[in-house]
């Protein structure tokens, strides 16, 4: 039976559900001209949620609703960053949406519902909660991708996303049912003990494979990455920036919950599988990105390679590795919002600013934007002393610790290959002549400019003093801060 304490544990989630419902009704009942209010209200709602997550339950782990929901440090950190990323997304998205007649209340409500899904997913204590949280997240994402109904590209992306996403969910569910069949429990905590001495180890292994396929789809690692480039390119950029940030944190959270909290006993099996996926993602992501001319597509392939790096942390299968992977996920989410944020800041009505050629000579038109993009690109490439460099270092270290030196070497080699295409964008901005007829004007929205500057500079600041964040990540996995 649930009691008041259960509700306290889930307070941020309950609050966000209530707020999302109110926003939904507000949107339905108010005039279209008043939508600006909705924008600021949504941001306020998210910030209050951040406060509730941070303020409640300072002392470690709590479970609620018969272990369906686990609130621990890992979940809290992921939630805070997911909420903050969404705030950034909302700020960046508004001018873009307004220019394209997409400034509708559904964008905000669906995004908040997706965030609720993320929060449930990273806090899941049961396979059922994992699945439902994931469905809440992905269902909202499908709708967001298709938000621009008049664009065939967007609709095609949504269909692809939906079909492949449904397939992935099916795989995951199939795997879960096998794991349930082999162990007789759905609870992740009980699974942890039961998996080691299951009566049907083969079935369990089979379930694990299916679950890894599902996780791979959701993370977007090769060879389950097919949806990523199309969705990143086809979706309105305002939606791409969302899909590229907060859900990655959720995907890490899901992988952690399923693989470590649930099937940690089978680590020696999934370590190798993840290593294979990591190598494939690094190779495909970095090599295919080289030939891209569309920046959104390039960033999509860059995502694939980054998820490969994230797997390097998970491969470690120890607290150090998880801390590194979580650190990586957070760094990637911030870098990705910054990179897409620049695209959003430069896009105008009728001009998407998503080709690399569109960035030619950006430095002459808007040096500040060019500098912000430079920070984002260098950070994604892992150039010291930016945030991305340190994150990469950590996951490579984690792979070495797991006695997979070869994997770390592969990672380092591809990091160098990856440098090429990130630097190409920088070169285009600083050394090429502007294209004729391309207006590169920056959005006048003040909040966007400030937040974007803050976001990009944060990459530099965190690159210089990564200590506190790494300390939180390590503490979340029970490690003393280094």
């Amino acid at each position: 039976m649930p009691n008041f304490n259960d509700i306290l544990v889930l307070l941020p989630e309950f609050y966000l559900v209530a707020a999302a419902c109110l926003l939904l009704l507000l949107d339905a009942f108010m005039k279209p001209e008043q939508r600006g209010l909705l924008h600021w209200l949504s941001i306020a709602v998210l910030l209050v949620a951040v406060y509730l997550v941070v303020a409640g339950q300072p002392d470690g782990t709590a479970t609620a609703f018969n272990g369906m929901f686990v609130r621990d440090r890992v979940a809290e950190i992921l939630k805070v960053f997911a909420l903050l990323c969404t705030v950034l997304v909302f700020v960046y998205a508004r001018p873009y949406l307004a220019d394209r007649k997409l400034f509708v209340g559904e964008f905000y409500t669906l995004a908040i519902f997706a965030v609720i899904g993320i929060m449930l997913l990273v806090s899941a204590g049961n396979l059922v909660t994992v699945y439902l949280g994931l469905e809440l997240l992905t269902l909202s994402s499908y709708a967001l991708v298709a938000l621009n109904r008049d664009s065939p590209l967007s609709s095609e992306a949504a269909i692809k996303y939906f079909v492949l996403g449904a397939l992935a969910s099916g795989m995951l569910l199939y795997g879960m049912s096998m794991v349930y069949g082999a162990t007789g429990t759905l609870s992740l905590a009980q699974l942890h003990g039961a998996a080691a001495h299951s009566a049907m180890p083969n079935l369990l292994l089979f379930g694990l494979i299916f679950m890894i396929i599902g996780i791979g789809f959701k993370l977007g690692v090769a060879p389950f990455h097919m949806w990523i480039p199309d969705v990143y390119q086809g979706a309105p950029t305002a939606v791409t920036v969302f899909i590229g940030s907060a859900p990655k944190l959720a995907a890490f959270g899901m992988a952690y919950r399923l693989l470590e909290s649930g099937l940690g006993d089978l680590a020696q099996h999934w370590q190798l599988m993840l290593a294979v996926l990591a190598v494939l993602s690094l190779a495909i992501g970095n090599l295919v990105a080289i030939v891209q001319s569309n920046l959104k597509r390039l960033l999509a392939y860059s995502t694939i390679s980054h998820m490969g790096y994230l797997l390097l942390g998970l491969v470690n299968a120890g607290p150090e590795g998880y801390a590194a992977a979580m650190f990586y996920a957070i760094s990637y989410a911030l870098m990705s919002t910054a990179a897409f944020g620049v695209i959003l800041a430069l896009a105008r009505a009728g001009f998407e600013c998503e080709e690399i050629d569109d960035f030619k000579g950006l430095n002459q038109r808007s040096p500040w934007m060019a500098f912000l993009m430079l920070l984002a690109m260098f950070s994604l490439a892992g150039v010291p002393p930016l945030f991305g460099f340190f994150a990469k270092l950590l996951v490579l270290q984690a792979a070495i610790d797991a006695n997979m030196l070869w994997l770390a070497i592969v990672g380092a080699v591809f990091a160098i290959i990856g440098l090429y295409y990130y630097l190409r964008v920088v070169k285009v901005m600083y050394f090429d002549k502007p294209q004729d007829g391309v207006r590169l004007e920056v959005q006048q929205d003040v909040s966007l400019r400030w937040m974007l500057s803050l976001n990009a500079l944060l990459l530099l600041v965190l690159g210089l003093c990564w200590g506190p964040l790494l300390g939180w990540c390590r503490a979340a996995f029970g490690l003393v801060s280094a």
Binding site: V128, T129, L132, L139, L147
Partner: protein, 221 residues
């Protein structure tokens, strides 16, 4: 005497064959409406298998939700969209060998993993509802509304998102549509619609001009 267990086993395999056959028909039939109906048959025989497992609530809920609702939507869509049969066919033939290989590999793996010895076992395990001494529906409800309370509420959230997404993605306001608002109609008073005008009676004999038509009945917009 037919052993009840044997009878159950026979039923299981019979429904299983129908399910698999219908599922094959779904992907091989040319006419997409026929394919949808084959899918209906698949669900129906699956429901029968679930009944054999004494999961009566789930079995009938499968029919209510999938056959009664989801498949109706499928029929709506399939019937009203002109899907070019040949193109679909072409892709099917092209990918058929790959599909067969994958299916065979999976079948072999499943058999190897789950074990051939499972074939001799009675397909249905013990009924936990009967063990708990209550009907299947009550057992399911008890589990759902106590232990799985949180997932249940998340399910409501997902359904709500489904509603929002469906409306946001499909509904278009057409400019030329007219509909009446019942609340406005009810709120109208006779006074707003009809104006009774008092006027002098016409005298047709005196004038040859057309008598004027005063608006004695005037509809407001």
């Amino acid at each position: 005497m037919i052993d009840p267990n044997l009878f159950q086993l026979i039923c299981f395999y019979a429904f299983g064959v129908v399910t698999v056959g219908a599922a094959l028909a779904v992907i091989t039939l040319k006419n997409s409406v026929h394919a949808v109906l084959a899918l209906v048959l698949t669900f129906f025989s699956t429901a029968c298998i679930w009944l054999l497992a004494e999961a009566e609530f789930l079995a009938i809920a499968l029919i209510v939700v999938y056959v009664g609702a989801v498949m109706v939507l499928f029929l709506f869509v399939v019937m009203m969209l002109d899907i070019k049969q040949e193109q679909v066919r072409e892709g099917f033939i092209r990918y058929l060998p790959v599909g067969i290989v994958v299916a065979l590999v999976m079948l072999v793996e499943m058999l190897a993993l789950i074990g051939v010895r499972a074939m001799q076992a009675i397909p249905m395990g013990a009924n936990p509802a009967a063990a708990a001494g209550m009907s299947n529906t009550a057992w399911l409800g008890t589990a759902l509304y106590t232990q799985y309370l949180l997932p249940f509420e998340i399910a409501a959230l997902i359904l709500t998102v489904g509603v929002v997404a469906a409306v946001a993605l499909t509904l278009r306001q057409r400019a030329d549509r007219r509909h009446e608002s019942a609340s406005q109609q009810v709120r109208v008073n006779a006074r707003d619609r009809v104006r009774i005008v008092k006027m002098a009676a016409e005298q047709p004999a005196r004038t040859t001009a057309q008598p004027q038509q005063p608006g004695d009945q005037e509809a407001k917009p």
